[in-house]
C-alpha cells in the first residue's frame, strides 16, 4: 500500500504541490490526470524518489520511505521520453539495472542476458535485443523502457506520460496491452497523463489534479458522472457551462426560471453544468432554454446540434440519437437539461 501524507512542494515561488493526501491499494492501476502545471509529474517523481518534498511523507506499506533513495524504493520508472541509453543495445539497456548491482547480488552475464531476453519477449520484442534504440519505432522504444524498468522487479511501476510521444493508433494498442501486463504481473501502477480518455479507459481510479491540489479521486464512473468540483466537471468529458442566478430556490437564466431544482445552493450567481448527451429538445415550453439551431453535424453515433442562446449569447452543444430526425438550422427550440449540476460562480 502506498500512502502519500500531506505532501507539499515549491519550486522557488511557485507552489507545485499543496498538502497532497492519497492512498493506493496493492494491485491498483492509478491515473494522475490534470493539465500541464497541475503538479501530477512532480507528485509521481516524489513517490519515485526522483524529487524531494518540502513537507509531508511518502509511506510504502506503512513505512516512511522519504529518506530512502530512488534505487532502494523498489520502483520502476518509465520516463516520458524513455531515456534509453543510446550507446547500449536494447538488451544492454534492459539488463542495466541488474549489471550495476553489487558483486554479491549481481547475476552472471549470461543470466542477465537471459533475463533481458525473457523480458523482451514479455514486451513482445523477442529477438530485437541486439538492436540499438535508434533502430526502433516509438512504440518499440516505449516497450524497451518498460522492460528495463521491470527488470529490477519493482513493486511499484511509475509511468510519466507513457503514451505521450506516440501516435494515436499505437497509443491505443499499447494502452490495452499495458493494462494486461499490469494484471498479469500483479503490479501496482501509477501513470501520469493529461489525456482524460486514456485515464478513463485504463485506470481503476483517477486522481484529478489542478494547480497542485487533488480535485477528486474516484473511478472513471465517479469522476465523469459525479464530478466533485467545477474543474473536474469541465476537465473530464464535454460540458455546457452557463452563468445562472439562484433566487428563492429557483434557477434563473436571462430572467427566466428554469425547471431545474436549485437544491441547497444559496441565492446569488452560480454556474450550471450539463453534458451534451443529457439534453432533450422540445417545442415552445416554459422552464427550458430557448435556443436557435445554428449548426448540425454528424459526430460518431449521434447528431451534434449547436444552438445559440440569445439572452446570454452562448452556444449550447447537444447530442441527439442518430436514429431520430435532426432539427433544421434556424429552427427555434427549447433545450431541457435532463441531468445537471450547479456550482458556485467564480470557479473556472
Amino acid at each position: 500500500m502506498i500512502t502519500v501524507q500531506n505532501i507539499s512542494k515549491r519550486f522557488g515561488d511557485y507552489p507545485a504541490l499543496h498538502d497532497i493526501n492519497l492512498t493506493i491499494q496493492p494491485g491498483e492501476f492509478i491515473a494522475l490526470l490534470g493539465p500541464s502545471g497541475s503538479g501530477k509529474t512532480t507528485l509521481l517523481r516524489i513517490i519515485a524518489g526522483l524529487e524531494f518534498q518540502d513537507g509531508g511523507k511518502v509511506l510504502f506499506d506503512g513505512e516512511d520511505v522519504s529518506d530512502r533513495k530512488v534505487a532502494e524504493r523498489g520502483v520502476g520508472f518509465v520516463f516520458q521520453h524513455y531515456a534509453l541509453f543510446r550507446h547500449m543495445t536494447v538488451a544492454e539497456n534492459v539488463g542495466f539495472g541488474l549489471s550495476v548491482r553489487g558483486r554479491k547480488d549481481r547475476p552472471s552475464k549470461s543470466e542477465i542476458k537471459a533475463r533481458a531476453e525473457e523480458l523482451l519477449s514479455l514486451v513482445q520484442l523477442g529477438g530485437l535485443g541486439n538492436r540499438y534504440p535508434a533502430q526502433l519505432s516509438g512504440g518499440q522504444r516505449q516497450r524497451v523502457a518498460l522492460a528495463r524498468a521491470l527488470a529490477v522487479e519493482p513493486q511499484l511501476l511509475l509511468l510519466d506520460e507513457p503514451f505521450g510521444a506516440l501516435d494515436a493508433k499505437v497509443r491505443k494498442d499499447l494502452r490495452r496491452w499495458l493494462r494486461q501486463l499490469h494484471e498479469q504481473m500483479g503490479l501496482t501502477s501509477i501513470f501520469v497523463t493529461h489525456d482524460q480518455e486514456e485515464a478513463l479507459e485504463l485506470a481503476d481510479r483517477i486522481v484529478v489534479m489542478d494547480h497542485g491540489v487533488i480535485e477528486q479521486v474516484g473511478t472513471a464512473e465517479q469522476v465523469y458522472m459525479d464530478p466533485a468540483s467545477p474543474f473536474v466537471s469541465d476537465f473530464v468529458g464535454e460540458i455546457n457551462r452557463l452563468p445562472v442566478m439562484i433566487a428563492g430556490g429557483e434557477v434563473q437564466l436571462g430572467g427566466i426560471s428554469l425547471a431545474i431544482p436549485a437544491g441547497e445552493h444559496p441565492d446569488g450567481p452560480a454556474q450550471l453544468h450539463f453534458r451534451p448527451h443529457d439534453v432533450e429538445l422540445a417545442d415552445h415550453q416554459p422552464g427550458g432554454l430557448p435556443i436557435t439551431i445554428s449548426n448540425i453535424f454528424r459526430k460518431g453515433g449521434c447528431w451534434r446540434v449547436e444552438g445559440h442562446h440569445a439572452a446570454v449569447d452562448r452556444v449550447i452543444e447537444i447530442d441527439l440519437d442518430a436514429g431520430v430526425a435532426p432539427p433544421i438550422i434556424g429552427q427555434q427550440l427549447v433545450a431541457f437539461p435532463s441531468k445537471s449540476r450547479i456550482f458556485a460562480a467564480g470557479c473556472p
Binding site: 515549491r10 522557488g12 511557485y14 507545485a16 509529474t41 512532480t42 524518489g49 530512488v70
Partner: protein
C-alpha cells in the same frame, strides 16, 4: 520541472544525482587557485601602487600610443572580419560548391595554428621582399612593419570568431521568412537588408566583439609583422613585455590593468547594446 529557480530551502535544489559537493567543490577550488587569485594579484598590485605612480606609467605618451594602436587596429580588423566573415558564413551556409567541407574546415585554422607560426608566415608574405610584399612595394604600399600589417595579422586571428558566430544563426533562419518577404514583393537585396541582416545582427556583433577582444590582447602573431617601433607600431601587450624585461613591474601592471579595464568596459558596452536590441526585437 527542474527549470525553476533553486528552492527557497537553500541555494541548491535537491537532486537524486550524486556528486554535486565533490564536483562543485573541486571546480570552485581549482577556479580560485588557477584563475581568480592570479588575476586578483594584478588589481592588488595596482592598488598598492598609488594613484600618481599608476597615472604616470599607465598613461604615459608611449602607453597611450600603444593603447591607441592596439584598440584601433583591433577595431579595424574586427570591421574587416565582420564584412568578410559574414560573406564566408553566407557562402558556406547557403551555397553548394566543390570542396565546401574543406573550406569549412580551413576556417578554423587560426584556432589551431600557433600564433607565432602565423606571425612569421604573414611576415614572410608581406615583408618588402615577400610573396605579396614584392608586388605591393612598387605601388608604394607598405604592409609589414606598419599598422596595416598589424591589422592583417588580427584579421587572420579573428576571422573564425565571426564565421562561427554567424553560421548557426544563418542556418537556423527559416526559409519561410525569406519566402514570405518574396511573396510580399521584396527584392532579394531588400530581403537581405530588411529581413536577414536584422536577424543575424546580434550574432554578427557577438562575432565582432569576440574578434575585437582577441585582437586587443593578441601578441604572438603581431610582434613579427609589426616592427615594434615605440610610439608607432608598438602594441600594448608588447609594451608590457618590454616593461617586464626591464624589471619595471609597476609599469607592466599598470598597463595590463588599463587594458583589462578598457576591454571589459567595451565588452560590457557591446553586451548592453545587444541586450537592448534583443529587448527591442521582443517588443
Amino acid at each position: 520541472m527542474t527549470l525553476f529557480a533553486a528552492s527557497r530551502a537553500g541555494w541548491r535544489q535537491p537532486s537524486v544525482l550524486p556528486g554535486f559537493g565533490l564536483t562543485f567543490g573541486f571546480s570552485l577550488t581549482w577556479l580560485t587557485l588557477i584563475v581568480l587569485i592570479p588575476l586578483a594579484t594584478i588589481f592588488l598590485k595596482t592598488a598598492g601602487m598609488g594613484w600618481s605612480a599608476f597615472w604616470a606609467v599607465g598613461f604615459s605618451d608611449r602607453a597611450l600610443a600603444a593603447y591607441r594602436l592596439s584598440f584601433g587596429t583591433a577595431a579595424a580588423a574586427g570591421v574587416v572580419n565582420a564584412l568578410f566573415g559574414l560573406l564566408v558564413a553566407w557562402v558556406l551556409v547557403r551555397y553548394q560548391f566543390p570542396g565546401k567541407k574543406l573550406v569549412s574546415a580551413l576556417v578554423d585554422l587560426p584556432f589551431a595554428l600557433p600564433t607565432a607560426v602565423a606571425g612569421i608566415a604573414l611576415t614572410a608574405l608581406y615583408a618588402p621582399n615577400g610573396w605579396i610584399g614584392q608586388y605591393l612595394e612598387p605601388l608604394g604600399v607598405k604592409v609589414a612593419f606598419t599598422p596595416i600589417g598589424i591589422v592583417i595579422a588580427l584579421v587572420f586571428i579573428g576571422l573564425p570568431f565571426v564565421v562561427r558566430s554567424v553560421e548557426p544563426v544563418l542556418a537556423d533562419l527559416g526559409k519561410d521568412v525569406e519566402e514570405a518577404a518574396a511573396t510580399l514583393g521584396a527584392s532579394r537585396a531588400q530581403t537581405f537588408v530588411r529581413i536577414i541582416l536584422p536577424a543575424i545582427g546580434p550574432a554578427l556583433l557577438t562575432g565582432f566583439a569576440l574578434a575585437f577582444a582577441r585582437g586587443v590582447g593578441e601578441y604572438g602573431s603581431v610582434i613579427f609583422i609589426s616592427g615594434n617601433m615605440p610610439g608607432k607600431t608598438e602594441i600594448a601587450p608588447l609594451l608590457i613585455v618590454t616593461q617586464l624585461e626591464q624589471y619595471a613591474y609597476d609599469g607592466a601592471t599598470a598597463i595590463a590593468t588599463v587594458m583589462m579595464v578598457a576591454s571589459f568596459a567595451i565588452l560590457l558596452g557591446i553586451n548592453l547594446i545587444q541586450a537592448w536590441s534583443r529587448r527591442r526585437a521582443m517588443a
